[in-house]
Point group: C3
Chain length 151, copies 3
Amino acid sequence: MTAGVAAGRATSTIEEAKRGGKNSLVLVLSKGGADMAYPALILATTARALGMDAHIYFTFWGMQLLTPEGRKKAMDVFPPDMQKALAAKFPTVEVFMQQAKQAGVHIHACSPTMDMFGMTKASLVNEVDDVIGASTYLELASRPDALTLFI
Amino acid sequence: MTAGVAAGRATSTIEEAKRGGKNSLVLVLSKGGADMAYPALILATTARALGMDAHIYFTFWGMQLLTPEGRKKAMDVFPPDMQKALAAKFPTVEVFMQQAKQAGVHIHACSPTMDMFGMTKASLVNEVDDVIGASTYLELASRPDALTLFI
Amino acid sequence: MTAGVAAGRATSTIEEAKRGGKNSLVLVLSKGGADMAYPALILATTARALGMDAHIYFTFWGMQLLTPEGRKKAMDVFPPDMQKALAAKFPTVEVFMQQAKQAGVHIHACSPTMDMFGMTKASLVNEVDDVIGASTYLELASRPDALTLFI
């Protein structure tokens, strides 16, 4: 996508929002494999390119993607030959998450999951913005301009 | 959460709804394991605490959670040591579903799934409010104030 | 559902949309098994019967449902006796997808997934309307009248 096209789309998205459309993408990522991390990261970074806000609320198995070891194991959902093919075309989940963060995607960790699995904030990767609960997620997702998906 | 905080949040959620925000959480729960039942029940009971309406439409594998045997097997998605750790911190799916029901969460069973799997209303747990189809779900989810997720 | 009931519901849905309700169902289907294809197809065809627009954006594992071989394998998620029981009551995924298409459901293939897995347009089934990316999906899902779910 060229900058011109991106700018044009961002403008139309903002105009859409003024007419009642959505200008904020709020994803819940509940799975720990790269097969669902890729769609979440593609949607979130595309939303940013379109001028939308973007949030990913990592919860349950998705919290594995916020630990250094879990993030490395994310590709294990694919057979070895598919891992090679993907590695030739797409960034790793770790690199993709860093790119998303640099593009302004907000990375939220789930506090009930941390309680459930005995995880500490110190064990999480640097990209995490904050640790939030279900009520904060619902506040983000309840905004009139929010488009929310459970992945 | 204290009652004061809950009341404050409920008020702000209602005010938000007046501005076009969401005041009704309508979840589809299509999975039969406790790993997805917990997020659904946490979201639905949190929505009630925030003063929102809350619905869970159990469909496909999710219908297993509405039978006494299926609900007991829901923890089998976890290895035994994880089951013990969870049991020490969280209610069982059965108890959590009863708490959700008492908090005013609406429990809907899916009629096409019952046809598909030859299930009868008599075989379902007491918490079920009604048996509805896809058109009734879409009517609930199409309301201007509805926030809907497919889990 | 009789035509009269369908017409009545379609009218009320359109009236609802004028008050800020949803009149367009935009599904993402990311799974390749019949267990998630059925809910997506039931929701999309029901939406059409209610007078709503309906779109299914097939992505990731869901793209397997858009190849002739993958669509045939979709029932393999069920044990053989369950496959027989389902076949007695419901159309196959192939026939159901053709019925959805005839009812006006839009079938979108995902371009990033095609890149990822080295798929060509020529290898896809006839029901595919077009190949779109995440930005086109977000434009569809951002409309004020869109109800969107990630399956």
